[in-house]
Symmetry: C2
Subunit: 121 residues, 2 copies
């Protein structure tokens, strides 16, 4: 039952758009991710997705308007809502969602990341 | 679909041991809580419980050893594990757990808090 220090975990990787599982909560996973530039428009049909920004400034583009988050701000993208994150510079964020959710949702493509548990104690 | 600013929400209340729901994620709830002093020993038999410390220093006493968390550190108390938070001074924390979880778990008593959605936009 390890303590997870968010800053310590973030210092362990530098790749973008590749969420790392750092803790499990029942059948949910707590992930840390670094973001830079624009992702792809996608939808998670079966689940909400929580973004909590740790460092930097993240815009989550939605079809009916954008949401911008700074450090200490969180937003839940509802299931079925198409979204596309865009990071102005380097952004670090925490994601919380059920285990098995793929980062690119229904869109697929080259930014699709494998489940990465290398930082899970 | 509102943005939740953690510091802004924390500025809106001062009572201790009374978690406020600030966001929902599927059937889970994101709560903010202020803690001071010692809580009660209790267990959640059916769920893990995530603690993320925002401000201050929180010790989670466990029967086989204590865990201490500072700002930016998180810990998941596994289901069925008896625990008792103790806050050295004022602590602010985020809790994540399924909706309906009662703060005192199986212990009950006077610190049992009603579900508080007054800060949910």
């Amino acid at each position: 039952m390890p303590v997870v220090d968010i800053a310590d975990k973030l210092a362990l990787f530098s790749d973008h758009w590749s969420p790392k599982v750092v803790a499990r909560l029942n059948d949910y996973e707590i992930k840390l991710v670094k973001l830079k530039g624009e992702f792809v428009w996608h939808t998670h049909e079966d689940t909400d997705e929580l973004f909590l920004v740790i460092d930097g400034r993240l815009t989550i583009q939605l079809r009916d308007g954008d949401v911008t988050l700074g450090p200490g701000q969180l937003f839940v993208v509802p299931r079925g809502v198409e979204h596309c994150p865009i990071a102005d510079g380097d952004v670090s964020a925490m994601l919380i969602e059920p285990a098995g959710v793929v980062n690119t949702g229904d869109a697929g493509g080259e930014l699709t990341a494998a489940r990465d548990t290398s930082l899970l104690d």
